[in-house]
Assembly symmetry: D2
Homo-oligomer: 184 residues x 4
């Protein structure tokens, strides 16, 4: 049982990362900072003769590494009430991987995984980030992947998340769950 | 009174564009195909000394052109239950424009505009694209911009949207509204 | 193939009823005005020894009549951003019917039906009634019933719905669908 | 500063009440069990000559008592993905109180209050009860009342809520917030 954390922030050591650290403190994980990779927007070639063309960026190698994990934690700041564009670019490309002969069981493999979402926003996120949570649920449903939980923190300025006792308590709960998960 | 249409599709002449054409047939508009522009993901430098740095891509010139219009139509395919990454990259950058001295009244200018959303998806979009509509509403609320209406079409394969009589009827209604709007 | 319309309004000839009339004009339906029936709030006795007790009101006879139809149209005003309490009382009682030996196949029977929702509200309903639509979808999902469509109209004062061209166009579309449905 | 708890359950000592007890343990509150009151469905007489007629049930006296509190906690089981019909009947009647000369400042008074929601459901409530949370937010927005927080617990059988460590941790956090609130 292994855990991969996918970070969608564009700022280092931001609030989302800090909150995520609370949830994975003492938990062995592999971290993927999407901002360190070059990922191009998907080009919809589902209906093109020849299908999707190989894209020369870091996506394919990255998704290969991520797929080795059993549990995926999506850690994203809330940008304009949804996941960051950086995170969205990554997820959009799944449409290509679904048709990539190098990932013949992409859907089936994802169906076996569990997912968590950790998100931090500045504008009433416990309400206004709920549509984003519903979208992550729909994504998980598509693959039959279990969305095991989510945390929504409130912060805007650097460090502000440290004052969100509620989110921190939830992160502690998630940490306990993850540790228990690893024992299995 | 003038209208700008912002296309988030990555495929030419796709279902989203076809449905949008129904809504703007005979309506003078300026069209912006985001896929034809080079737009980088935002780098969150809100809290960096010196603030946001100039980015060398097409975004700034593009947003300048779009801001000249009174009505904005956001036409996006539904990718993974939300707007396309291409569209999201564009909107994420608004956080930078909000702090750009070359756009000193960005918020106030958007507050005077009206917005429409036209979206086409393949997986139960009239239900599963509703979180995306709620997000567009939150975005509009942030600026005080009026979200005047939206259409959700259902289609996956090329041309399939032509069979969605309900969406086409809604597009016709939107067309009447837009024409009336221009008479003012 | 037969159609039942379940009205949740408490006012006669209100906006919700008028909009629904557009959708069923010329369509043979049986109408159920919930306000004309005495329906008590459910008493949760799922976990009580002996289970649910017989309730002396009109519910059981009413649900029996409604279940004879293949298509159910739920027509409700939007009260406080969700279905009317009158409609909610009716639906809450389904938990009892699910355990009623006189309805041994309640779930299976509902799974074969199609549902439509017609709702009219006064406060930005095309946005603020969306959570209610999502709830109807969850209800339908529970039973495996297909939510085939919904219309959200905007009106507050008596007669005001006549000015909602968009909702009326959607009602006409629903009417065509219902008529086609009956031909099968 | 005083706190009123409004219970929408129809079963005594159920999961919703147990979870709420965690949040108010040691906190002085007044409790209102809606099931103990006779509350009729609203009859929409907003547009009737003479307006709303006096209704002979317990509602008016009850709402008068509840309005004396500064903080309102809405504790409801999730029935069919929204608040219980019992809770909905109560809230629907607010439309009448808004026009009741005995409550000339109903809206202004509610604008000064804070609200919390505690809800327990059996079917994936942390996702499927989110539309209900959005509805409570819209209700609060209507009055300008602050929705300060919410907890969603998962339980179906009696006592099952005791196993929801996440919800219990959130209830403890809410308890700390409420106690701090009372000190003001």
């Amino acid at each position: 049982m292994s855990i991969g954390v996918i970070y969608g922030s564009t700022r280092e050591n931001g609030n989302t990362e800090w909150l995520t650290e609370q949830a994975i403190s003492g938990v062995p994980v592999e971290k993927f900072y999407l901002r360190e990779f070059h990922i191009l927007p998907i080009k919809d070639e589902r209906h093109t003769v020849g299908g999707f063309q190989e894209v020369s960026d870091d996506y394919k190698q990255l998704v290969g590494k991520i797929m080795k994990h059993d549990v995926l934690i999506f850690a994203t700041p809330v940008y304009w009430y949804s996941m960051s564009g950086t995170m969205k670019l990554f997820i959009d490309r799944w449409s290509q991987t679904l048709r990539d002969k190098d990932f013949p069981n992409f859907r089936e493999e994802l169906a076996k995984k569990s997912a968590y979402v950790i998100a931090v926003g500045g504008d009433k996120p416990t309400i206004k980030a709920l549509p984003m949570i519903q979208q992550f649920q729909y994504i998980c449903d598509f693959f039959g992947m279990a969305l095991e939980g989510y945390i929504i923190g409130k912060a805007s300025k650097p460090g502000e998340i440290r004052g969100d006792a509620k989110a921190i308590a939830s992160a502690n709960q998630m940490r306990i769950t993850l540790l228990r998960c690893l024992e299995k």
